[in-house]
Structure formats: structure tokens, C-alpha cells
Symmetry: D2
Subunit: 343 residues, 4 copies
């Protein structure tokens, strides 16, 4: 591994990008924050000013091309990902791109072809759950064969609330369920072949017209089945679980009563339990640290870890089928390109 | 309530009937075991000999008609239930009939019509989970409205093993999933309108040709959705859970780590946990006691508690649709008679 | 076992006695409530009127002597226990006496001598935890030898609140810690040789001058050590736990998160957990049922189960030493009579 | 904070020091490993060769004095700590010294006086539990006052096994219980005034003559009481817990069933649970990372975080009293110097 620190530029400094800036500046060994970019140049400038050695570069493509930037974290909105990811590949720079890789399967295929033509993989997609210690441990347990073949997964994904009035049912598929899509592929080590999205009578806490919760069913290439609950206005807190059912046992990642366990006299009754995590930044704070550390280490070694462009492409393709199913209620087959000819 | 003990006759003294005999004889207040009947008269005679005051009556319909029998527990095979239940109604005797009420919807309707014509309800169907303290508490919590409207249920139903070579995939629907059918109707207080049974690649521990595990999805009349896993060869133990997802919170009945909690050095590693229940007789032993006590108390008062003939009929109708869906993989609508004209 | 129901009389119909009356009348197989006695004859009369076949007998010793009473539950205040227990022995009647057996060691010895002279054991002392499924299972696990020799116990005993202004520090030893005394003797199968009661700075929720919580340390005859926390104004709920530490593993009875498990949006945060039990009648409701059922069954067979007069005597002797230690803070040796000459 | 990386030297490269070397080299932001020292120069040289930019310096005091070393981690045996710590202070270098600070109270006082004379604090003592997320969260909860005043702590400290035949009972006090000493002082924010160490009949898995487990009781300056179990041959795994009992609730750090939760068919029964942590390096891996990151950050800012020299001194003084109590069984008062004159 290079003895030089990896000089990191970050595109997009909203909540996620600002979080990564703090991470790279103070918690990641062997990496330094050198540049940030954002259409809101005032915000980007203010952020750069907080970190010694970091500067603002208004144009994201100029940041990618800058000689002082070794590698890039893309935390911009999804609709500009394709251009930025392709620029990274063109400049031979490693990038960690938050999901979605791009907005549709066609554009994701363009990314895959660009990597093929460049002769090397450069892109990691930000499915951070692969780095959560519990999810990672579960995947290792399943891959070890200790429990026999995996038969079923049951995924639970709950957010406290989404007050945004512009929120749409499709965003549950694209922004929340997409994590379960990657979890299913990660745990089984197989592609998803069909997806069905069911629409229960919605909670009254969802905005008008939004179908929340949603129940999705995946069929895996080897015949396994995955049930998924996504509920983004559950009112309680952030809760993410995965239960694997295998031939010789079951295992759960994300059981909620971890951490501090408290009894507390509340009103007239005694509660026994803990606080639910308030949101994903708290729940997956450690996973993000491990993800970015692993990315920085791999980038310095010249390799890619975690979810690849193919994983990003497959997730996009499954979600496209999922949005079709959300409209019809029927199962929809997932169409994937031939992986061979993209390598 | 009458000060006289309820004199109970039991039809069928296989595992379940023998268990009920011991229960009535020794653990139920206000009830006495007075008669048992079984096609295996030797077995029935031996059982009767174990309990003072109990005698064997070879003919089950004679047992029903006997003047010394106030009420009947029907624990015989399902295909003789209709005749025995109708005999109880004809004789004006309360009966607790193990599920299924009868073998198909038509015959269950005949039971309902017989009760209507008799002008009174006499039959309780043995869905014991309604008496399990955790399931009962969950139902009360949901019915209280404290969590808001119920949106989803997730049911889990796992048996250790079914070594019987004559076991068929349909029996998972009819004998195991039927409990989840009743749980869904009990928790929601609504009918099931469609059922879909999905067939994952089966475990290698199932007998040849048996689809195990199965995943079933119910749609409730009010738009709620229920996911169900039934896995009868899970190898580990007996585990039954129900997670309700409501507008203001979630609740789980049957979380497994109840009871004694042990660390024990096993081989080279330290296990932390408890033993899974070995089977349903252990898991639901308390529920059976409470069910039969409630039935005996109600019978002495002249009323019926727990699941009614209508509940038994509805479960049969849903399972019939479920078996159709097991064959096709598609959702099947549940056809129910008009409840009004049966009352 | 006799085919006749055991005809039960109850002395004392305060909270505990009234609870037992309801239990015997409706939940205990093979037993009937026939008589109740209480200095408050109006209360006793009202209670008797609620149960067919039960009558009020003003004089408790007349109840004991009554020909229609086969066995007696003594739920009166402790200071009248000696006279009532001795009357039961004189009349050859089985009795279940709530703790304490009597008010001091000398009087408990008189009970032991009366049983010896009568040539048979007739008295069970109401240490109901021996019948709690978890405590019973833990004792069986320890007795099985599966975990090796037991080295330590850690007992926890918490009540929500004791608002009584007449409450005294000594009552924590005599009424609460006494249960842990019996648990320690039950789990180890050995006598306690020394007891030390430590006085932390008390909670401000205790009444003026009351030392609450208290920490007690027992030494067992075989060298084992038992730590005990008793805290009767913990504000949260009722919680009772016992952790055993053995040579090859540990085990806990009474871990709190059994039962229904709920997430609920409360104020601005998501709680995860269940409700603590409100008091001992809820927590040990099942244990009381099992205790009285076992007592009724044993009485009909002519034997005694559960805690014996010796156990009641030993608990009284340990608590006497505990009250001495509460005053001094130093360890106090427990003086027990020679068991041999009392048998 | 300085933009320069902190250049770290490590003295002692046994298990703990080698672990810190890997940590500083790869997981700590803003720090670099530049030097290692060990009496076993071959081992130190091999370790240095694994990390670019790190060299071996045979003499530990030369490492401390080296101009290229900004700060020092002392992971050498306790009996050389005093000299090395004093050298750090003399050279004005920040140091993270693994416990014990020094071998006795007198030598720890010399460290305190050296810091006072130098006019600044430079030493952190390696009580890593203060950085464990659960222990830290518990301390914050208690300090917040949300649960009211703290009344009791119950600490549990279990190791799987200590096969070393040279192991002595005193080492349980000095090397294991010392962590509970710091936890008690950390959680209460008060000094310990008396300590009593009780000696149960030992496990047969301990080496001949070793008292294991041990039960220790601390009295805090404000009247709180702390019970401690230390059991270093528990056979199961590594388990560390702290339960705080406060005026309005209780809280537990370190409940064991965190992480992955598995059912697995083992032999004839179904286990339900997870694996216990094998040892402290796994259990506290995260705490060590956070500790060293916080130390590196603070050193670059010019300050000290975590346990100070005073905390190290107090722990040493309490353990000295503890070893006296281990011999006598009686409570021993802790004698501490006047903190004022040392500041």
C-alpha cells in the first residue's frame, strides 16, 4: 500500500457528502480531504474552509480531473451520477458513488462498458450495509455453509417519518427497497429474477397518495424467496433487520435490543427496553466509517471492494422492474445484460 | 355457573386426545373426565383405566348421546369431524373440535346451518393460539387501538422435522398454515380475501417432492397484508412468531428468548442463548390448558368462547383457496358464504 | 389420588387470601372452596357469598377443625400463623401457610416439633418461586450437574414502590429478602451459614429513615457466595432475577424481555421494549396457580411438596441474623438447630 | 488541530503493542507509526519492517527522546512503566500508557508530581472501557441525571480461561478487577472509599491455589455500593457487563445478545442464541480504536482525554487495598493523597 495519503475530493455536500467530508478529514486513516464541489458554491466554500488543506472547486468535472485529487466520493443527486462516474473512469480515478449508480439500466450499462474499455474496475457503489458488522457477519455465516443452503430471507426496513410533501411511492422502491435488493443479492450471491411489489392499505401518516408500507417479494436465480417490508413512516424510529432461513438454522442481523438497555419509569408504567435508532446516520455510522476506510485502503492498493458497478447496475434493473410491479401489482421479470460480454 | 362439574367425553385418544384426557382429569377446574372413545378400543380402554370415573364407549356417537356426558372434546381425524360435530349439535351438547372443523367448505356450511337451525352455538374450534398469553395480549393490544390501525402481519411457523414419508405439500397448508389463517383473522378482526402460496426451492431435509418451506401472502378485507413463512423441517425446533405492524408502532408475540437463558461451553465456543422449544405441545401447553379451562367454564355457563364454527368454516375456505394457489402459484380469491343468512 | 375433590378452607381474605379463593374456586382441578375465615367477618361473608358451596366461619380454629374442611390455606398476618399452623397439625390437616412460617425461630421450632410428634409432615410454606417455571427450570438445570458445581448466585428483587409510611428497613429483610433466602437454599440445596446486609445511601423515593436499596451477601455451607439486591422503591416495576454462575456455564431465570415486545412512538423518541410487570401478582400469577395445584394434588395423595416447615424455619433464622446485620453492617453467623433430632 | 500527522512511537510490541501498531498504521486518522521498541529487538525489527516509515529503536528511552516521535504508546510490562512515563513527561511528549500506570501508589504519586512540576498533563491511562460505546453511553446517561442519583452498580467480568500455571489470585485483583475499579469511579464520578474481596469456594477449572471467581464490594464516597464478580476461568467466553441502579430506573451496558442471533441445530436440540465473544480483543476492538483515535486527536490539540494519571493512581491505590482484603476477607479503607496539592 502506498505510504502517501489518498487525496480525496467529494462531489455534493448535502447531508451525506458533508458527513463523508467529516469522516475523511478526521476518522479515515491514510486519506485526506483536499477538495469539495457543489452547485451551491457558498455551502461548498464554507465546508472547505472548515478543513485545513481542503479547497472548493466549483465544477465537479474539474474536481475529478484535478491533479491533486487521487480519488472521488460522489454524493451528488442521482441524475448527475452518470456524467461524474464516467469522468472518473476517463481520468483513471477510483470513485465511491452513492446509490443509485445511475438513473436507469441503460446508463448503468454505459458505466460498465466504460470500465470494460478502460480495462479496469474503478467504481464502488455505496451499499454501506455490506460493511455493517452484523450484515457482514451474516453474509460470512451464510457463505461459510455452516447453516446449509439459504432458502429464504425476510428483510425489514423502517424509517421513522418522511414529511416531504413531494415524496412519491416510487421513491420507496428506488431509495429504500434498493438497499434490500442489494442485501438479497449479497446474502444469496445470486441475481434476482422476479420482483413483485404489493400495496397494502396505506398508513394515515403517509402523505396523500403515497403507498406506505410496501411489501415486496423477490425470487432468486436459485429458487430462494425474499420477503421485504419497507415502511418509511413507521413513527417509531429507524429499524433494519435481515433474517436468513437456511437448511440447518436461521440467523438474524439487526435485532433491535442491542446497545444500552434501560428501564425507566415513564408516567404510570415501567418501560423496559432501549431507544430505537433515530435514523440511518446513527444506525449505520459505523458501517459508513468501515466502508470509506475499506474504499480508501483499496484505492491506495489499486483495487475495488464492496459493491461493484455490476451490483449497481443490477440494483437499478431490479428497481426498474419493481416500479413496474408497483403499478400493476403483478410479478415482473428482471432483464439483465449478459455479464460475460461486459468483462 | 353450575356448581356441578362438567362431565367430559373425549373422542379420539391419539397424542392430542390423550393430552386432553390428562388435562381434563388433573388440571381443569370444574370438569371431570367420564368417557373416552377411539376406533382402537384397546388404547381407549387402557386410557380409561388410568382415570377413576372414566369409562370407554366404543361408538363415538354413543358417547355423544350418553346421558352422563355433558360436553365433548373431538380429537379424532378430520374426516370424521362432520358426523361427530353434527351429533353434538343434535344432542344439544357443547363440543371443542380440534381443527379442521370439517374437510371442506360445504361440510362446514352444514355445521353452521345445523347450529342456526338449533338456535344456538355449541361448537368451539381448537385454534389454541387465541389462548396463548402472548398471542392473546397482542390481539388485545391491536384491538385497543393503542397502536392505531393494523397494516401488516408477519407470521413465522417452524417445526423441527416431519419425518413422515406420506407427508404432502398440501398438508403444510391444511395443518400448519391454517393456524396462521386463524391468527390473521383473529388479529385483524377481518376476513381474508385472497391467498397466494409461493414455492421456494425446497430444503433437502424435506421428503422427496414436498415443497418446504412455503411462503404465503394474504390480503385482508380492509386492505392489510399478511406474510407467512411455514417451514416444517427447519431442524432447529418449534418456533412460532407474529409481528404486527401498525400505524403507531409494532409488536411481536413469540419472541424466542423467553425462559431460561444459558451460557454453556460447547465444543470450542461459548454459546449464549436458550433452547428452542422442541414442539408445539411444549410451546402451547399453557395455551391448551387455558383453552380447555375457558371452554369448560363457558360450557357450564351455556356459551361458546374462542374460535366459532364460522371461524372454522372461514379457515377451511381459505385453505381450500390456498391449496389451489399452491398448485398454480397465483393469488386465489376466497369465496365465503353470506354470514347473515347463517345466523 | 382420591377421586373426591379436596375441600379447602382459607384463613385470611386480604389481597393474597382473596386471590387464593378465586384460584381454588375456578382454576384448581380437584379442589373446592368450602370455607373462609377473617376477623373482618363482613369481608369474609361477602367473599363466601360469591362462591357456591362456600360459607363463612368466623373463628379460624373452628374452620381448621370443621369436618367439611379437608385442607387449609393460611393467608392471615404472620403473628397468628403459629397458632393456626399448630391447629392444622393437631387436626391432621394439610396446610399451605404463606411466609413467614412464624415470627421467630423459636416458634418455628415448635412447629417442627409438632410435626415430628405427629409423625408426619403436613405444612407447606408459600415460597411460590419454587413453582415459577423459570426458577424451577433453573433449579433443575443446576441439580442436573450439566453446568458443574454452582459457585455464585446473583439475585435481583425490585418492587415499584412502597408508599406505606409505616414501612421499616427491617421489612425489606423479613418480607422481600426472605424470598432470596429461600431461592439461595433452593438453588444450592445447602444451608446459609452467614449473612451480611449492607446499607447504601438510600433513594430519595424511600420514606424517611428507610434503607432502600439494600445489598445482602450470603455464604453457603459449601463455600458458595450469593449477592442480593433488594430495592422496593425502584419506580419502574416488579423485577425478579436469579443468575447462577457455575463451573461450566451460567444461567439466568427471570430475564425481563419475555412476553410481548413492542415499539411505540412516545413523545419524540421510539421506545423499544416491553412493559415491566407491575407487581408480584402479575409476575407470579402462574407460579401461584402451579403452587396451589401441586399442593392440592399432594394433599389428596397425602404428602407435602415445595418448601417444608424446615425451609420455613431456616428462612426465619437467616432473616433474624439478617436483621442483626442490618443494624451492625457486619456478617452474622446463622444458628440452626440440629435437623436430625427434629425428624 | 495540527494539519501534520501525529508521529507515534510504541514501546513494547507484545500482543497489545502489536495490536496498537496495526491500529496506528491503518485505522487511525491523523497518526503515523514511526518507531517501535522492545527488549526483543528481533520482534521489534520484524514489526517495524511491516510498516513503511517505521523503524526500530532498541532503547525505549531513546525512542521517547527521538525528535521524529511526537507521542508514545507504552505497552510494555508494568514494572518499567514508571521510568518510561517519567521520560515522556521530561520530554514533554503525550503518552498513552496501558494499565497499570505504575506498580504501586508511591510511584504513581511520583508521576502525578512530575506532571504538576511540568505544569501540564501529558499522560492517558489505557482504561479502554471509557471508550466502549455502551459503557460511554451508560456514563452519559448517568451523568445526564435522567435516571436520578446512582445508587448501585453491579459489574460482571468473565474470561474464558487462564491456563497460565504461574497465575496468582492477586492477578485477578490487579489485572481484571482494576477495570471494574475504573468503571466504578467513571460511572459514579467519585472515589472508592473501601473495598472488600470475598473468596468463594473456587472452580475446579482454576489452577491449584487460585481463588477464582472472586466477589468484590466497593463503597463509594457518596455512599453508593458496587458489587463485582470477576471470574477468569468461566469456560464460556468473554463477558463484561455493568448494571446501574438509579433512583428512577436502571440501565445495563454489555448485555450479551448483541450482534448476530442464530438458531442452529446442535446435536438433538435447537440452540437459540449467539456466540459469546472469545476474548477482550474482539469485545473491545472498537473501544481500542476509539481510544487511540481520541488520544491522537487530543495529542494533536495539546490535551489529554480519557483516564488521567490521577485515575491511574487511584486505581492502583484501590487495588493495593483490594489485595490486602483478598488476604484478610475484611473491608479495607482506601488511602488517597490530597488531590489538591498535586494540581
Amino acid at each position: 500500500m502506498s505510504t502517501q495519503d489518498l487525496r480525496v475530493g467529494i462531489i455534493g455536500v448535502g447531508m451525506m457528502g458533508a458527513d463523508h467530508a467529516e469522516r475523511v478529514a478526521h476518522r479515515i486513516a491514510g486519506a485526506r480531504l483536499v477538495a469539495v464541489s457543489d452547485p451551491d458554491t457558498a455551502r461548498a466554500g464554507a465546508l472547505a474552509a472548515r478543513y485545513d488543506g481542503a479547497r472548493m472547486i466549483a465544477d465537479p468535472l474539474a474536481l475529478v480531473a484535478d491533479d491533486d485529487v487521487d480519488a472521488v466520493i460522489i454524493a451528488s443527486p442521482g441524475f448527475v451520477h452518470e456524467e461524474q462516474v464516467l469522468a472518473c473512469i476517463a481520468n483513471g480515478k477510483f470513485a465511491m458513488c452513492e446509490k443509485p449508480l445511475t438513473m436507469d439500466s441503460e446508463s448503468s450499462l454505459r458505466v460498465l462498458r466504460a470500465e470494460r474499455d478502460a480495462g479496469r474496475a474503478l467504481i464502488q457503489v455505496g451499499f454501506m450495509r455490506r460493511f455493517d458488522p452484523q450484515y457482514a457477519q451474516l453474509q460470512q455465516l451464510l457463505a461459510s455453509g455452516q447453516l446449509g443452503r439459504t432458502l429464504l430471507l425476510h428483510n425489514t426496513h423502517r424509517n421513522k417519518t418522511v414529511p416531504n410533501p413531494e415524496f412519491r411511492s416510487e421513491m420507496i422502491v428506488r431509495d429504500s427497497l434498493v438497499h434490500e435488493v442489494d442485501v438479497a443479492r449479497f446474502m444469496f450471491g445470486e441475481e434476482i429474477t422476479t420482483i413483485q411489489v404489493l400495496s397494502p392499505a396505506p398508513t394515515s401518516h403517509a402523505c396523500e397518495g403515497v403507498i406506505d408500507p410496501q411489501v415486496a417479494v423477490f425470487t432468486m436465480a436459485g429458487g430462494g424467496i425474499v420477503t421485504n417490508e419497507v415502511f418509511v413512516n413507521c413513527q417509531v424510529g429507524y429499524e433494519v433487520r435481515c433474517e436468513a432461513v437456511s437448511e440447518r438454522g436461521t440467523a438474524i442481523a439487526g435485532r433491535p435490543q442491542t446497545g444500552l438497555y434501560t428501564t425507566l419509569a415513564e408516567g404510570g408504567e415501567g418501560y423496559w427496553g432501549g431507544l430505537a435508532d433515530p435514523d440511518f446516520t446513527v444506525r449505520f455510522n459505523r458501517a459508513y466509517d468501515l466502508e470509506i476506510q475499506a474504499w480508501a485502503d483499496a484505492s491506495r492498493r489499486g483495487s475495488v471492494v464492496g459493491a461493484t458497478s455490476w451490483d449497481g447496475y443490477a440494483a437499478t434493473a431490479v428497481c426498474a422492474a419493481g416500479m413496474e410491479s408497483l403499478a400493476s401489482g403483478a410479478p415482473v421479470a428482471v432483464a439483465l445484460a449478459d455479464r460475460e460480454i461486459l468483462q
